[in-house]
Amino acid sequence: MKKLNLSKDQIQKLAVSTIGFVILLYVYFSFFLGPLNASRNSMTASIKELQAKLGSSKNEMAKATNLENQAREATTRYAALTNLSPEGAPIAWFPPRMKIFFSNQQIDKTTARLDSNVPYKEADLSGWTRYNWMLDLPQTDFATLGIAVAELENTEPLLSIHHLNIHAQADNPQFQQVTLNVATAILKR
């Protein structure tokens, strides 16, 4: 093999050319091709992300439409249940409502007193409050009371009687004095 005989000047020029080549490569990859590729990669990633979002959004909207159809019954029922809680403080409307209800059932002089109100433990009922009331029915007969209680349990689905006390009146045993402890679920307004 023929040996290259390079002069000092030539070696210097060769070194300068090599340095120039390295600088060219560095500048090219660091300031031109590198940022271009980086932006291209980020744009490709954004496109993929957006396309995935677009794909899932179609599913999401289809699901929402299906859910809307499936939940029609639940929403109607929920609306009916929320309509049982009128606007305003329950202490303002519940006692008159009970008074009217029992007077329609031929039981007069009903009084309703608020015992307590507590939030529900269930997370799904965070918008609702449990109100405990005491209903005093000073004079009624057993049959009328039975009919009234049946009507109350049927027309007030969110009301439950958790304690009932019936006492015959000492002077008039055919009439009874009744105390009902009831709990109602009332929507927070």
């Binding site: 120039g20 959004s57 909207m61 929402a64 859910l67 799904d124 009371l145 049946a150 304690h163």
Partner: protein, 214 residues
């Protein structure tokens, strides 16, 4: 063999040296590489431009769809909340104890010679168990038997609709006073009956350490 004399060897050598100048060759190589790199860069830039256009189109599509998706997601969350709340409320409604059927059964158990003076009933916290204390008077030739008849009838009536029914006397005592029923004087007894039952059947406990029969 002819003899060749190179009288211009110095000029030739200079020319050869000029041609072999490493800087010149290096510059030419660098220029060539630079041109190739520039072309490659332009090709990449063109592709990137295409990708940017695609990104713009997709972003445009997404900006059109996004409000609809957001509202659909909100509505879905709202509907799910409504469904779960309605389910819990329905569970509460179905799980409550209805007193009217109980009062009806109680009224069926009271014969002509018995009178109930007090009923005190409580639904336990879990809405399953119910305790009722019934006080009253029974009259007859054998007033205790009349009271026992009421207890048994109550046990039978409650057993038709409820589970784990227990009806027990708490007190049963004869009274000195007489009452007139159908023109005849009858003795009286005061009774106090405790009734307890549950709305739903409790699962029988399996004894520990015993394998089920195959």
């Amino acid at each position: 063999m002819a003899l060749h004399l190179n009288l211009l060897h110095e000029e030739f050598q200079e020319q050869r040296l000029r041609q072999r100048d490493p800087l010149k060759i290096g510059m030419m190589v660098l220029g060539g590489l630079g041109a190739l790199m520039f072309l490659y860069y332009m090709w990449n830039a063109y592709q990137t431009l295409g990708i940017r256009n695609r990104l713009n189109a997709v972003q445009n599509d997404w900006s059109k769809v996004e409000p609809k998706v957001t509202s659909a997601q909100k509505r879905s969350a709202e509907l799910n909340s409504i469904i779960s709340t309605t389910k819990v409320l329905d569970g509460m409604i179905d799980g409550r104890f209805y007193w009217a059927p109980f009062l009806e059964k109680l009224s069926r158990c009271v014969a002509m010679n018995a009178q109930i003076t007090s009923v005190d009933g409580t639904v336990l916290d879990d809405n399953r168990g119910v305790n009722v204390m019934i006080e009253g008077l029974a009259a007859g030739r054998e007033p205790r038997a009349a009271a026992e008849e009421l207890r048994q009838l109550l046990l039978e009536q409650l057993g038709q609709s409820y589970h784990d029914v227990k009806v027990e006397f708490k007190t049963l005592e004869d009274l000195d006073t007489l009452v007139r029923i159908g023109g005849a004087n009858m003795a009286m007894a005061r009774f106090s009956v405790s009734a307890s039952f549950s709305q739903t059947a409790t699962k029988p406990a399996t004894p520990a350490g015993r394998a089920p029969k195959k």
